[in-house]
Symmetry: C2
Subunit: 353 residues, 2 copies
Amino acid sequence: MTELRRYRPEDAQEFCCSILEKLNVPREDANEVGDCLLQADLRGLDSHGMIRLPVYAERIRKGVVNPRPVPKVVRSSAAMALLDGDNGLGAVVGSKAMEKAIEQARVAGISFVGVRGTNHFGIAAFYVQKAVRQGMIGCAASNAPPHMAPFGGRARFLGTNPFSVGIPAGKKPPLIFDASTSVVARGKIIIAAEQGKLIPPGWAIDSDGNPTTDAIAALAGSVLPFGGPKGSAISLIIDVLCGVLTGAAFGLTLNTLENHEAEQNLGHVFVAMRTDIFSSTEDFGSRMDQILQMLKSSPPAPNTDEVLAPGDIERQNEAKNRQLGVPLWPTVVEQLIALGAKLDVRFPHPQPM
Amino acid sequence: MTELRRYRPEDAQEFCCSILEKLNVPREDANEVGDCLLQADLRGLDSHGMIRLPVYAERIRKGVVNPRPVPKVVRSSAAMALLDGDNGLGAVVGSKAMEKAIEQARVAGISFVGVRGTNHFGIAAFYVQKAVRQGMIGCAASNAPPHMAPFGGRARFLGTNPFSVGIPAGKKPPLIFDASTSVVARGKIIIAAEQGKLIPPGWAIDSDGNPTTDAIAALAGSVLPFGGPKGSAISLIIDVLCGVLTGAAFGLTLNTLENHEAEQNLGHVFVAMRTDIFSSTEDFGSRMDQILQMLKSSPPAPNTDEVLAPGDIERQNEAKNRQLGVPLWPTVVEQLIALGAKLDVRFPHPQPM
């Protein structure tokens, strides 16, 4: 792989919006999806950034994603709601669901919103940050198609079911935790396979269920859950909440993103919670600052500069990339140029450095 | 270590109750604590069973735990409440808090209850099973004193902060997940040290922060979070919810259970949620049965009989131990006999086999 190229965030955003508008996505919705993809690239999570735009576009073109969804609140009470996403893009549906959770939590203190009939929603941190910007604690999770063997199994059953928690502090930056329930993103194994490299033990098993460090055998097999039986159980619980509880697809009934012939019917859940439910916002903020300060003052491990809080690296990435430009690999740029050519949208020039 | 001894559950329960009553704990509360300890031993989680009775007793005797607490609801709205535990035993306070959550969830669909001013609450699964018995989804978590280095650190900062999720199914047994946020219970390292055995790599670091397989060096150092940075973040988030949010102690301000000179002021959180909030109870139950059936039908890994659902092993243990008797190690029996001798309570005879 040659060097990263960098683009002005406005240019990259405009490209995403124009592509989606050509596919009949309303401007406002296109903007939300662009924000979500861009935030992933800016935060250094390139596996969930603009690299996903071609598959989103393809799914709309094939008619398995609805470009103009009208998400409906199917059930609702003071502290909970269920949305049917009308098969819209995940970022469009997910943002509406998180807004609903925030709105309800303002009054009820907490809100739990489930979503069915939705699609790939990008990075879960995108949604919890909406709550954090309103001074609230936010959680987001999604189920995903089977790519992971359960603990004790050898075949794909669980999704890499991501989850995120965001917690505002006082003067310090917020705690933003965002993770998949797999040991490692499958994308890293794909890259190792392309480069002919071995993968570390513990990442994956081959199709017979034996541990492997061969990236190609791993791709034919399964990625493993993080933390053994614990991560496996957490992943299953996310599928229960997002899929079983909401009425979305779950387990082996979930179609992959790459199967362009069928809808996915993914499910998400979102939680918003005020930080002043048990004391004052000021008191909570100052106590958050204290625990984060204690953590950062904790003696680092050998060969480590400092103990980081969840979200520190991504925040540093974002600050850097907003200055230098959105980083994209040349292979991704090629795919985006090709996508633009099909839809008559010109991909922007790199940012002058 | 010689062989396990086994006792009739009623006899073990009666012993716990008598000990606690001698220490001025009301009968009803003593029963709740006995249930909690016994359930741990029956489910095979001996580190949280009757082995804890001596330290509970000692803390009451030293005046750092209140034997007759009057837990108070400090704040309350439709879907949330904050309890002050009045420094009571964790099982007493925690049970009242979970009951409050269940009561609120009956009306609001969901309830989030925080607790401060409480103590060690035993196994978290004890509380979620109360929700599951009412046909609800339950969650429970607690913070705990610093015994674990955070990811990237070399000194103790995080508690092993346990959490549990219980989800009822239809005809199948419920999913009961219960785990600490450490790779392994510290008790297992203590046992390895006593037996002069090595511990597997990845369990712990020595006091300089270097990986170690020496159990004695590990005890002087820190146990590690499960799943690296992910488990470390989950443990921190549990401390934020249980400690920072509720007004309990958190991080380095948490005293150990073994420090008999000071109160702990632990915090817990409990969630109860109805399963019919988004569809019917029957529909949810049948969908749960489906996902559990898919999981159990998933091809097992080499040298594995079947893929287990969270809670399967503990349920099998409980069924066996209810028949054969509560299993206790001779060293634990000795401590309990000594405790009984101090308080004039006779420890029961083993169950005739």
